[in-house]
């Protein structure tokens, strides 16, 4: 067992961080907010060229051939940079929707709320909707997050995304972890700079303890996300090997493994949603009046975290899935 990122994985993460810092730094973020432009097509193609969307596509199909553990590290960086757009849906569409892998197509999905729809994000910017035949008609809705435009679909009915739900939830959880770590950094930096009563506010225990709580939440969620990525990847690989000639025992073991992966992903999403939302809240509190302004980035993290918490797997769904998995392991198979 060596549950730490390999050198290649660390290099990959550092590379993505560098790319995003150069291409989507704070100025670009604020310009996008001011201009109301949620998806920058040119940036989308650059992300495609860098392998962001084709990351998990096999090399034989023109992809990068990496797995979920690498993907969560990459998405964590995107979450940290508050990169907008239907990143997860387009990544999931790679290989299935033409242009998704290369970033020449923008693909969204019915991933909001329990079982998806009728609200859908980025409909006006999208070339396709995951699993749907065409673009459904919809009425624009004023969105709480300035960089997540919303539509209420008025016809066609939501497309089924259940095949994508687990990977979607996991990658969204990775975005949340990146955001949670970023708001922690913002809070710690501000707490060290801002002075009141003749000392940095970070010297006050009430502020210090908020920050410590943020770290605990972010670290627990991050490990849950990494572990879920590693177990899901391993289960995938095992599936690939035992494709045919399977006996009943093998099938039962496979079903148990699938249930275990589903539980790990549900836990990752639940804990990551909570870490992102609550860390943004605490970061806002540490910033005082400044935290309530449009000018500070905190609200952008909070609003996006709220959006992501509604995507793919909600807290209620995650808790029910975990209860089901607890019940399964408690009455039959043993928990690992």
């Amino acid at each position: 067992m060596d549950f730490q990122p390999t050198r290649d994985q660390r290099d990959l993460r550092a590379g993505v961080r560098e790319l995003l810092a150069g291409r989507y730094g704070r100025d670009a973020l604020r310009a996008a907010v001011d201009g109301g432009s949620a998806v920058d097509r040119e940036l989308w193609r650059e992300l495609g060229a860098a392998g962001f969307f084709a990351l998990r596509l096999p090399e034989a199909e023109g992809g990068v051939g990496l797995g979920l553990p690498e993907a969560v590290l990459v998405f964590e960086e995107a979450g940290r940079a508050l990169l907008p757009g239907p990143l997860v849906a387009t990544h999931l569409a790679a290989g299935a929707v033409p242009g998704a892998a290369a970033g020449t197509a923008v693909v969204t999905a019915f991933d909001l709320g329990e079982r998806g729809g009728p609200l859908v994000s980025y409909l006006a910017e999208a070339d396709a909707v995951l699993g749907a035949a065409g673009l459904p008609p919809g009425e624009p809705v004023r969105s709480a997050d300035p960089l997540t435009p919303l539509h209420r679909v008025t016809g066609g009915g939501p497309a089924d995304v259940s095949a994508y739900r687990e990977a979607g939830a996991l990658l969204t959880a990775a975005l949340q972890v990146g955001s949670a770590l970023r708001t922690l950094e913002l809070a710690v930096r501000y707490a060290g700079e801002r002075e009141q009563f003749g000392q940095p506010i970070g010297a006050f225990q009430a502020v210090k303890h908020l920050c410590a709580g943020m770290l605990v939440r972010a670290e627990v969620a991050r490990t849950a996300v990494y572990a879920a990525a590693v177990t899901a990847q391993a289960a995938d690989a095992a599936d690939g090997q035992a494709a045919d000639g399977q006996d009943a025992d093998g099938e039962a073991a496979e079903a148990a493994e699938a249930a275990e992966v589903a539980g790990e992903i549900a836990a990752a999403k639940l804990l990551a949603d909570e870490a992102a939302v609550r860390n943004a809240r605490d970061c806002l509190q540490v910033h005082g009046g400044m935290g309530f302004t449009w000018e500070a980035d905190v609200h952008l993290h909070l609003k996006r975290a709220w959006v992501r918490a509604e995507q793919w797997v909600t807290a209620a769904e995650a808790e029910e899935a975990l209860a089901a998995e607890l019940s399964r392991t408690a009455t039959g198979g043993e928990a690992r």
């Binding site: 940095p200 770290l215 804990l271």
Partner: protein, 384 residues
Amino acid sequence: MDLTYTEEEREFRARLRAWLAKVLPELPARPSPDDWPGRRAHDTGWQRRLYDAGYAGLHWPLDAGGRGATPTQHLIFLEETERAGAPYVGANFVGLLHAGPTIAAEGTAAQRARWLPPVLRGDEVWCQGFSEPDAGSDLAALRTRAVRDGDDYVVTGSKIWTSHAEVADWCELLVRTGPAAPKHRGITWLAMPMDAPGITVRPLRTLAGSTEFAEVFLDEVRVPVANRVGDENDGWRVTMVTLSFERGTAFVGEVVACRRTLARLARAARASGRWDDPVLRRKLGRLYGEFGALWRLTQWNVSESQRSGGVPGTGGSVFKLAYSHARQELYDTAAEVLGADSLSLEEEWTADRLSSLSYTIAAGTSQIQRNIVAERILGLPKGR
């Protein structure tokens, strides 16, 4: 990032599992919490079996009598013994997890030879005499005084909350030797024999009703200078070595135990129909997710320490904060499953619920852990 175990690790697990299956049925039942001599005999008897089978001091260095196992093998050991329902370290806790590792890291060859083998064999039991009535969280404010007299230190003062004091042979004792020095620089670490004249142990009753810890009064107790580990007035640094061990891997078995408890709780809730309450069911689901994540965090920390050659990282405080909170939540939820029956001390979870109240206090309170996380990990300024 790899969560699979190597061939060697799997073999280690299989051998251990087979051994546990053989010896555990032969073991006598654990004596009642108030029967201290009985508990000592039970806990040290188990330690002796571990020693004879080659499992004692697994993660201790070879030259300290340990087996030089990797942190991952140690993790497997803690996981499997807990899963099989083997006895908890109990009375051996301080010897195996605090005093022993400190002596292994800081003691002379003679001190290691004198004190470590009896700990591994289960022959000698240690207690920890750090806290004092006026020095708890602010441990460095301790006042128990030691004055040099020939080849001895003469020690006078009092200690409190000393777990296992009644049955211990040795006490890892922190004393003040440099009264004029700044508080962190006048402390010395001594190994005090508990049968020395001048020691009075007065048991304290916990809110759970048992006598788990004690007050220890010291009246001109003579401790040989040869029993000093580290230099005079260097005891604070020596102690920090111990405390980082305490916060590193001390809770592995307990996380496994919590996961077993949660499974039993789910079975009980299903049997009684409480499972049909969606609020309670979702709470249990969330706890399952949290303890799963805590197990993963344990594996993460162990891998980190394995990469750094066995040094526990800074993750201990983060882990303890998350874990102690989750564990209290677990027993509060158990009480919800039980309903009014949670008021009965005959229910196993009621006693556990009571003892769980100490988790946010013992081994550094949650507030102190948050200070540590904020100042040492996040680099926030110290308050005035």
